[in-house]
């Protein structure tokens, strides 16, 4: 008779394997190990060592993250067509290196170092927000340091901002970052996590109707976020999240595009653009969503083409509609 118990591992080995699995999981690129190192470095790294560490770690991640590297290169091939292969390799490295710098600056700010210079462009679009009677959706992209800019932004506007984040992929990372976000946070800022079954859309609609501001990222489709296709260029489409457009329509609030761009050593620029307000028939939901998606696509495209080295999207976002139809057929 086959004895299953014979093949069971001894308890000590089971514990050892479990500990090893947990350790390897934390060493994963989404694990909390690297973030803990980053925060440790922000506390003790001498300033003249930072560029060396950023460069060497950037190189290591560039070599290790094959999938992300190819996705960034594929996106860059659409944003900046006609470059040589070597140029794409260099540009991809620049994106990953820049991402490392923004994370470093974020860690410094979370540790409590006041080191960042901010430039604001488009103040005329931000000034009316402080006196706005209604809520406002601040639509942004995954570039620069939006995580750090939000408290500054809220402080200047003197309005409470609710930011929406996708939870981190690993529970340990999520817990660690949640703790860091609650330390040194601004009284004007609340972070919401878009977790499954959280009914966040209803909560955000209520907040907007109560006159609060909501900041959402509008350039990435992660997990089960509902997408809205929009034209990037002739023959090329990208998927934009449908949520912000729906929220704007339901709560009847304007959408203000705000982008954060890293200019260099500890210097960032906040770029605000003209808001979008749907002036058509409020019952025409499809028309309103299409118009908002077209407007946001044009806004985002301009910024992404100008600051391509700042756009931290590590998934392929562009597709050709003809290819998609072929696939479907």
């Amino acid at each position: 008779m086959f004895n299953v118990r014979f093949y069971r591992l001894p308890p000590a080995l089971t514990v050892l394997f479990s500990a090893m699995r947990s350790l390897l999981r934390r060493l994963n690129v989404y694990g909390d190990f690297w973030l803990r190192c980053l925060f440790f470095g922000a506390r003790v790294c001498p300033w003249f060592m930072e560029p060396i560490i950023a460069w060497s770690m950037g190189t290591a991640f560039f070599l290790a993250l094959k999938k992300a590297r190819f996705a960034v290169a594929a996106n860059l091939a659409v944003i900046r067509p006609g470059q040589t292969l070597w140029q794409y390799v260099k540009d991809t490295f620049r994106v990953i290196h820049n991402f490392g710098w923004t994370l470093t600056d974020m860690a410094h700010v979370r540790v409590g170092h006041e080191i960042i210079d901010w430039e604001i462009v488009g103040q005329q679009h931000l000034d009316p927000l402080a006196d706005s009677k209604t809520g406002v959706i601040i639509l942004t992209a995954h570039m620069g340091n939006y995580d750090v800019a939000a408290p500054l932004f809220a402080r200047r506007l003197k309005r409470r901002i609710h930011t929406v984040r996708v939870p981190d992929r690993h529970a340990e990372t999520q817990e660690f970052m949640k703790e860091r976000r609650t330390e040194n946070t601004s009284e004007w800022l609340t972070v919401h996590y878009n977790e499954p079954g959280s009914m966040l859309a209803v909560e955000l609609t209520k907040l907007l109707q109560a006159g609060e501001f909501v900041a959402i990222q509008g350039d990435r489709i992660l997990f089960d976020v509902s997408a809205h296709p929009a034209e990037f260029r002739d023959g090329i489409e990208w998927q934009l999240p449908r949520g912000p457009f729906m929220l704007s329509l339901v709560a009847r609030v304007p959408i203000v595009p705000v982008f954060i761009v890293r200019l260099g050593w500890r210097r960032y620029r906040i770029i605000a653009r003209e808001p979008f307000v749907w002036t058509g028939d409020p019952r025409d939901k499809t028309g309103a969503q299409d118009a908002a998606a077209r407007w946001w696509s044009a806004c985002l495209r301009e910024i992404v083409e100008q600051h391509w080295y700042q756009w931290f999207v590590f998934e392929r976002v562009f597709e050709r509609p003809t290819n998609r139809e072929d696939d479907e057929s």
Binding site: G41, V44, P46, M49, I52, E114, D117, W118, Q124, W265
Partner: protein, 177 residues
């Protein structure tokens, strides 16, 4: 010994090099064209200074630690050996750079957690220890048989002595004010 000095400015002069204070004195922040508002940070550094010092440290530590490798040979053999040496040495050097931060940093973090040092003081100590490690590397360069390495080592030690002297002069100037 415990300290309650959680915020102090004892390490602020360490943030800038004395060289930069003399040759690149802090400028009032200028709002760039097209920018509506400029919000400046409390602790600001010159970007060119950071890049200059970091590049110097990187190049010279790479030379210092790699100068004992078997470079040399003739023709293609020399090129091959150079590529192999660089290929082996660059990752080791990159890890060594991390250790220059991690080892003194861990010591400082331990002292900080026991409240022996404040946040700023531990950063100062970590910076000083990193400088010390680079100085040891400079002595390695001096011991190298290569003339180029000896010259670079000399430059570092000369720069370090000059930096120290400038720092003393600045301190005296500050005290006399």
């Amino acid at each position: 010994m415990k300290t309650d000095r959680l915020i102090d400015d004892t390490s602020r002069p360490m943030v800038h090099t004395a060289f930069a204070r003399v040759f690149m004195p802090p400028q009032p922040p200028v709002t760039p064209e097209g920018v509506d508002v400029l919000v400046t940070a409390r602790d600001r550094l010159h970007e060119p200074e950071v890049i200059r010092v970091a590049a110097f440290c990187a190049i010279w530590s790479l030379m210092a630690t790699g100068c004992f490798l078997p470079w040399g040979g003739d023709g293609w053999w020399m090129a091959l050996r150079a590529v192999v040496c660089l290929g082996i040495w660059l990752p080791i050097w990159a890890v060594a750079m991390q250790l220059i931060v991690v080892v003194p940093g861990a010591l400082c973090a331990a002292l900080e957690s026991r409240r022996v040092l404040s946040n700023q003081e531990s950063l100062t100590l970590a910076t000083a220890l990193a400088v010390l490690i680079f100085t040891v590397a400079a002595f390695l360069l001096l011991a190298s048989p290569s003339l180029v390495c000896q010259i670079v080592g000399d430059i570092w030690l000369f720069a370090l002595v000059l930096e120290g002297m400038l720092r003393v002069v600045l301190l005296i100037g500050k005290l006399l004010k």
